[in-house]
C-alpha cells in the first residue's frame, strides 16, 4: 500500500501487481483512491489505531464519504450554500451507513457505540470497529496485519469468526499476516511462508501443512506440540533470526539449516513449482522431501 | 544540506550586523515641522489634579497656569513686576494689611458664566475651607488669610484684609492656589466640603484662561485647546492646541524630540549630549529656583555631634561643591550663597551673593581639631561613629553626591554610611525619628518670595518653620525672619534677611549646595519661549514656525 514513508524506506526494484496494474507506478492521487476503497488494511494494535479525538461513527463515516463522493460537490455550478446542504446530507447518510457497518461486525447497541470515543470501548470492540471501517467500502482486498495478536483468546476467536463470515458474505480477499499457525490452519486457503524478508514456501494450506518442503517450514510445523503425542522435548529450529542489515549470503536460512550445503551459502534459491499449487525456494528440496518420507515411514 | 544551512546562518548574521551599524549613519534628512498649530510637550509624571485649590506639583501646574487665572500675573521672565490679569488695578493700605483689587469686566469662564467678585471670594474661601486634603497647598494662603479676609465691595471690586501684613502676599496669589474658579460651576458639582477632595473639579476644570481641556487621558496625555472667548483675544501668534504627553521612558522622549514628534521634551541631564548636536534642536540652560541642599539633624541621636555648630561648619567645608556640579548635575547647576536662590529678591543680602563655604578639607580638619574632635588611634573621629547619610531611592543625582561626600568625609577621618530609602519611608524617618544625620533634599518655589525659602528652612518649629525637621532653633533668627515675613517695606525686609543670614550661616543647619538649571530641549521652530522660574509653562505665548 506504500504506506511506509520514504525515509526510512525506499522501493528499489520490483513491482506490485494488483488487478493487473503495477501499484508502484501509480500516482499519489490514484493510490489514495485505492486505499480504503479497493485495498484496506487493519493493524495489530487496536488500542492505538483509532484517532482518540474523533467519534467512532465519524471515523467510519469519513472513509465512506471519501470514497463515495457526490459529483455534485465538485460541480462548480452549485452554490456554496447548496454544497453545504449536500454535504450535511451526505454526512448524515454516511453516519447511518457507519452504524450499519458496526451492526454488521456484531457490535451490540451499534448506535450508542458509533457516538462513543475509542477510549470508551474495549480492545475487541475497537478491532471490530476497525474491521467495520475498513470493510465499509467493500474493498477487493483486506490486508490484516496480526489482527488478533493483541487480543485475548476468546475475543480472538470471535474476530476470526467474524472475518471469515464477512469474507464469505462480501467475497473480499483477505491477506492475513500472522505468526500463529493455528489461525492459518483454520482461516487460510493459501499460505506464504516468509523468512528474513523472502518467501521461502507458498501453496495451498493442506499441502504446506502436510508436506512442507522447505526446512524452515518443516521446523515451524514440527515445533507445534501435538496434543496426541507425548514427548519430553519440543523440536526447535536452532540459531537466531539473522541481522537484516547484514544478512547471510546465499540462502538466508543457511546458518540454521541441517540440509545446508555449499551451494546454499553462495546462491539464493529461486521459487520453484514443486507440484500443483506448491512452490518452494530451496536448493535441496528433494532431500527435504525424501527425509520427510523417511520420517513418515519411521512413525509407521 | 549543511552548506545551505551555513549560507543561511551567515546571511542572518550579516543582516543583523548591518542593522546594528545603521545607527552610525549620519542623519542627512532635515526634520520638517509637524502640526504647525499644535505644541507637543513630552514629559514624565502625570498631573495629579487640575483643581487649583488642591494642586501643588509642577505637572499639575503645567495645565492649570493656562486654564485658570489669578488676579495678577507675570509677563515673560519678568519677576519684578506683577501685571494685571483678572484684576485691572490694585492698591494697598498704609499698614499693608488691606488690599483692594478692581476686577476686569466682561470676562467669561469657558462655560459662558460671567466672572465677578463673588467668584473671587468663593475661590479664596474654598481654598481655606477645603484645606487641600491631597496636597496641603492651602497653607500658602492660610499664612495670611482666613475666612473673614475676603470682602466683596461690589461686583467688580474686592477687598482682602490680611491677618498680618504678609510681605509676599502678591506672590502668593499669583500662584495657582490663588486662581479663580466659577462659583456656579463648583456649586453644581459638589460644592465645597471641608477636608475633602472635589473629584469633579479635579478632572473637569473650567477657568477664565486662554485654554480649555479637550481631554485628559490619565498617564497618557493632557490636551488643551483654545478657549475661543478668552478675554485676552487671539490676535498675534499663539499655538492653538497643546498636547502634554506623558512618557516615563527617557529613551522614548529623546526619540520623539529627535524625530520632531515632540516640540519640547524633558531629557535627563546625562542624555543632553545625545540631542545637543542635532540639527534643529536647541538646548539652553536657565537658572531655576530649585535648590539642592543637604539637611543636618541637629538633634541626631548619634552621639549628638551634629548638635555642635562647629561640626556642622566643618561638614560645610568638607563638601565638594564642584564635583556635585560637574558629576551629579553634569554641569547644570550653580552655587548658591544661602537659603534664598539667585534671582529672588534679597539674594544679595546673603554675603553679597558670595557663598561663605567652599570645598576646603584642611579648613574642615582644622575646625574639627580645634573643637576637640580629633583623630583617634585608628585615624577616626567621633570614636568611629558613623554619620548616616540618606537620600530618596531612584534619585541618581543625590546618590552621586552622597557617595562623593562619603569619600570626602573619609579623607578627614569621618566614617559614614549611605542609605537609599523610598520617599514615604524617608519622610517618616525625617519627621518621626531622630535616626538620621544627613538627608539630601531639594526645594522648589511655590511663589516668588524669599520667605517661601528661608522661613521653612531656618525658622524654628516654635514659629511654624523648620519644615525639614532639622531641630534648629535660634530665637534671634526667628525674630528676624518674622520681621521679614510680616513687613511690606523692602528695606526692612532686606535688613531682616541679612541679619538672619549672618547668624544662621555660622550655625548652619543645611549645606547649601547649589541652584539647579532648568533645561528643556526644544526644536528650533518653537518661538516665543522664555523661562520663568515660578511659572514653568504659559502656552499662550508660544507658537511654531
Amino acid at each position: 500500500m506504500r504506506l511506509i514513508p520514504d525515509p526510512p524506506g525506499k522501493i528499489i526494484d520490483g513491482e506490485i501487481k494488483f488487478k493487473d496494474e503495477d501499484l508502484i507506478k501509480k500516482t499519489d492521487l490514484e493510490l489514495q483512491n485505492i486505499r480504503g476503497n479497493e485495498i484496506s488494511m487493519i493493524f495489530q494494535e487496536p488500542m492505538t489505531a483509532l484517532n482518540p479525538v474523533f467519534k467512532i461513527g465519524d471515523q467510519i463515516a469519513e472513509v465512506i464519504i471519501l470514497h463515495e463522493s457526490n459529483p455534485k460537490l465538485n460541480n462548480k455550478n452549485y452554490r456554496f450554500y447548496n454544497k453545504r446542504k449536500i454535504r450535511k446530507k451526505m454526512e448524515k447518510q454516511a453516519f447511518e451507513k457507519a452504524i450499519e457497518a458496526l451492526k454488521m461486525v456484531n457490535i451490540p447497541d451499534a448506535e450508542k457505540v458509533a457516538n462513543q470515543y475509542p477510549h470508551e470501548c474495549s480492545g475487541g470492540m475497537r478491532q471490530r470497529a476497525m474491521i467495520a471501517m475498513m470493510l465499509a467500502c467493500d474493498p477487493d482486498l483486506l490486508i490484516a496485519d496480526e489482527p488478533t495478536t493483541a487480543l485475548d483468546v476468546t475475543v480472538q476467536a470471535q474476530i476470526l469468526a467474524l472475518m471469515k463470515d464477512l469474507q464469505k458474505r462480501k467475497g473480499t480477499a483477505i491477506w492475513l499476516i500472522t505468526h500463529n499457525l493455528g489461525i492459518i490452519a483454520e482461516m487460510c486457503d493459501r499460505v506464504g511462508v516468509m523468512y528474513a524478508g523472502y518467501i521461502v514456501e507458498m501453496g495451498s494450506t493442506e499441502l504446506i501443512f502436510d508436506n512442507p518442503d522447505h526446512p524452515y517450514t518443516r521446523g515451524l510445523i514440527g515445533s507445534i506440540p501435538k496434543i496426541t503425542e507425548d514427548i519430553d522435548e519440543l523440536e526447535i529450529i536452532p540459531g537466531n533470526v539473522p541481522n537484516l542489515i547484514e544478512p547471510p549470503s546465499g540462502c538466508r536460512f543457511h546458518p540454521r539449516c541441517k540440509f545446508c550445503k555449499q551451494i546454499c551459502k553462495e546462491k539464493p534459491p529461486e521459487l520453484i513449482e514443486v507440484e500443483k499449487n506448491h512452490y518452494v525456494a530451496c536448493h535441496r528440496y528433494k532431500e527435504v522431501k525424501y527425509s520427510e518420507l523417511v520420517d513418515f515411514l519411521k512413525k509407521k | 544540506m549543511n552548506k545551505k544551512f551555513c549560507i543561511l546562518a551567515i546571511g542572518i548574521c550579516l543582516s543583523m550586523t548591518l542593522t546594528a551599524f545603521s545607527g552610525c549613519v549620519e542623519e542627512s534628512t532635515k526634520i520638517e515641522l509637524k502640526n504647525p498649530d499644535t505644541l507637543v510637550y513630552y514629559t514624565f509624571g502625570d498631573a495629579k489634579t487640575l483643581d487649583p485649590a488642591d494642586a501643588y506639583d509642577s505637572a499639575s501646574a503645567e495645565g492649570i497656569f493656562s486654564i485658570y487665572e489669578g488676579l495678577i500675573t507675570y509677563k515673560g521672565d519678568d519677576l519684578d513686576t506683577f501685571y494685571p490679569s483678572l484684576a485691572t488695578s490694585w492698591d494697598v493700605s498704609e499698614d499693608s494689611k488691606t488690599w483692594t483689587f478692581n476686577l476686569r469686566e466682561g470676562v467669561k469662564f469657558s462655560n459662558g458664566n460671567d466672572f465677578t467678585a463673588e467668584d473671587v471670594k468663593y475661590s479664596f474661601d474654598r481654598v481655606l475651607t477645603m484645606n487641600s486634603p491631597e496636597s496641603g497647598v492651602a497653607w500658602i494662603l492660610q499664612q495670611s488669610m482666613d475666612l473673614d479676609s475676603t470682602k466683596i465691595i461690589d461686583d467688580y471690586t474686592i477687598e482682602i484684609n490680611l491677618i498680618e501684613p504678609y510681605g509676599g502676599f502678591l506672590s502668593t496669589i499669583a500662584y495657582t492656589v490663588g486662581f479663580i474658579v466659577d462659583k456656579d460651576y463648583v456649586e453644581e458639582h459638589g460644592g465645597i466640603v471641608a477636608d475633602t477632595e472635589n473629584e469633579y473639579l479635579k478632572l473637569n476644570p473650567i477657568g477664565t484662561g486662554p485654554y480649555m481641556v479637550d481631554h485628559w487621558t490619565r498617564n497618557t496625555e493632557l490636551v488643551l485647546v483654545q478657549n475661543p472667548d478668552y478675554w485676552g483675544g487671539w490676535d498675534g501668534k499663539h499655538v492653538k492646541k497643546v498636547v502634554i504627553k506623558y512618557a516615563n521612558e527617557a529613551a522614548t522622549r529623546i526619540l520623539a524630540l529627535k524625530n520632531g514628534d515632540a516640540d519640547i521634551a524633558v531629557i535627563p541631564n546625562e542624555n543632553l549630549e545625545d540631542v545637543e548636536d542635532d540639527e534643529g534642536i536647541i538646548v539652553i540652560a536657565y537658572d531655576s529656583f530649585d535648590l539642592v541642599m543637604a539637611e543636618m539633624n541637629t538633634l541626631s541621636d548619634n552621639s549628638m555631634y551634629l548638635a555642635n555648630p562647629e561640626v556642622r561648619r566643618a561638614l560645610c567645608y568638607a563638601f565638594n561643591y564642584q564635583s556635585a556640579i560637574d558629576d551629579a548635575y553634569v554641569g547644570y547647576m550653580s552655587r548658591v550663597a544661602g537659603a534664598i536662590p539667585n534671582g529672588m529678591p534679597y539674594y544679595d543680602s546673603q554675603n553679597n551673593g558670595v557663598p561663605v563655604y567652599d570645598y576646603d578639607l584642611e579648613e574642615a580638619e582644622q575646625i574639627l581639631d580645634e573643637a576637640g574632635f580629633t583623630l583617634n588611634e585608628d585615624d577616626q573621629r567621633f570614636d568611629g561613629a558613623t554619620i548616616r547619610i540618606f537620600y530618596n531611592a531612584g534619585n541618581t543625582e543625590r546618590y552621586k553626591m552622597a557617595l562623593s561626600f562619603q569619600e570626602e568625609l573619609n579623607k578627614i577621618g569621618i566614617l559614614s554610611s549611605v542609605i537609599a530609602e523610598n520617599w514615604p519611608q524617608l519622610l517618616h524617618r525625617m519627621y518621626t525619628t531622630a535616626d538620621w544625620d544627613l538627608i539630601f533634599i531639594g526645594w522648589g518655589p511655590d511663589y516668588n518670595d524669599p520667605d517661601d525659602y528661608v522661613f521653612p528652612f531656618v525658622a524654628s518649629s516654635d514659629v511654624n518653620g523648620d519644615t525639614f525637621n532639622t531641630g534648629y532653633k535660634n530665637e534671634s533668627v526667628d525674630e528676624y525672619l518674622l520681621e521679614g515675613k510680616y513687613s511690606a517695606d523692602p528695606n526692612v525686609r532686606e535688613n531682616a534677611y541679612k541679619n538672619a543670614f549672618d547668624i544662621y550661616i555660622q550655625d548652619p543647619s543645611m549645606i547649601y549646595i547649589g541652584q539647579r538649571q532648568f533645561i528643556r530641549p526644544k526644536r528650533d521652530w518653537v518661538q516665543g519661549y522664555y523661562y520663568n522660574p515660578v511659572r514653568d509653562w504659559y502656552w499662550y505665548d508660544y507658537y511654531k514656525e
Partner: protein, 340 residues
Amino acid sequence: MKTWEYIVRRLLLLIPVLIGVTIITFVISHVIPADPAIAFAGGPKAQPETIERIREELHLNEPLLVQYFYYLNDLLHLNFGKSYLESRPVLESITQYFPATFELTIFAMLISVPLGILGGIISAIRRNKLSDHITRIIAILGYSMPIFWLALMLQYLLAYQFPILPLEGRLSIGLIAPQSITGLYVIDSILTGNINTLSASLYHLILPSFTLGFATMALLLRMTRSSMLEVMGMDYVRTARAKGLSERVVIMKHALRNALIPTITVSGLQFGALLGGAVLTESIFNWPGMGRFAANAVMGLDFNSVMGFTIIVAIIYVIANLIVDLLYAVIDPRVKLGGE
C-alpha cells in the same frame, strides 16, 4: 451539571488563593516601617492635622491584624486603596490599564498563535529540510532576543530611522480615544464608527504586538513541532493514510487535532501570563497597560498599587488556569473534569 459544579468548585478555590496572596503582600508591604501618611498628605509641606487625619482614615494607628481586616473589608467593597503615585484609586488605574493590556495581548496572540502553530507544522512535516531550518532559526531568534532589545531596535529602526510606524502610545498625539464601551480601542472604534481612531489604534498596535508576538511565537513553534513529530508517528495517523485520505487531510485533520492539545493549553497559560502585563514592551512603547503600571508602582514603591496589581494578577492566573483546564476537557475527549 457536572461541568458547572466543576467550574464553581474551582472558582471557590480562588478564595483561599487570594487570601494567601493578600496576606503575603500585605505583610511584606507593611513590615517596612514606612509611614505613608506623610507622603499622602503632600510631603514636607503638609500640615500635622492633615497627616493625623490621613492616619485615622488609613487606620495606621491600629495593630497590623486589624489593619489587615480593614483591608480585606475594603477589598470586598472593591476598594483597593489609593495610589500615591497616581493620586487616584488603584481600582480606577486598573480599570483604565487592563483593557489596554488586554487589547495588546489579543493582538500579540493573533500574531504568535497562527505563526507559531504554522511554523511548527511546517517544521515537523519538512523535518530537516530547508524550511525546517529556517523556521527553527526564527524560533531561536524569538526566544533568545531579549524583548527589550527587540522593542528598542524596532522602535529605533521603524519609528525613527525610517519613520513608517508610530513611536509610542495607543493613539496619535492629541487624538481622543473612542467612546469607551469595552476599553479596547479597535472594537470601540468599530462600534462607534470612528474611522480615525480605528486606523490610529491599529497602526499603533503594530510594533508592540509584533514585539510581544515574536517572542511568544517561539515557544509555541517549538511545542507544536515536537508535538506534531510525536503525533505523526502514531498508529492512528497510519490508519488515516490507510483509509486513503490525502496527506493534507491526514496532517491537518487527524494529526493536528491531537498535536494541538498541549499547544492550546500552553497558549492559554501564555495568554494569562501576558495579561499580567508585558512590562518591558509596555514601558518602551509607553503603552498604558498593566505592565507599565506594575513597573512604575514597584519602582516608586507605591504599595497600594503593587498589592492591587498582585491581587488582579492572581485572579487572572487562577481564571486562566481554569479556562485552560476546561479547554483541555473540550478538546481531548479522553479527559474527564474533576479527576477520576
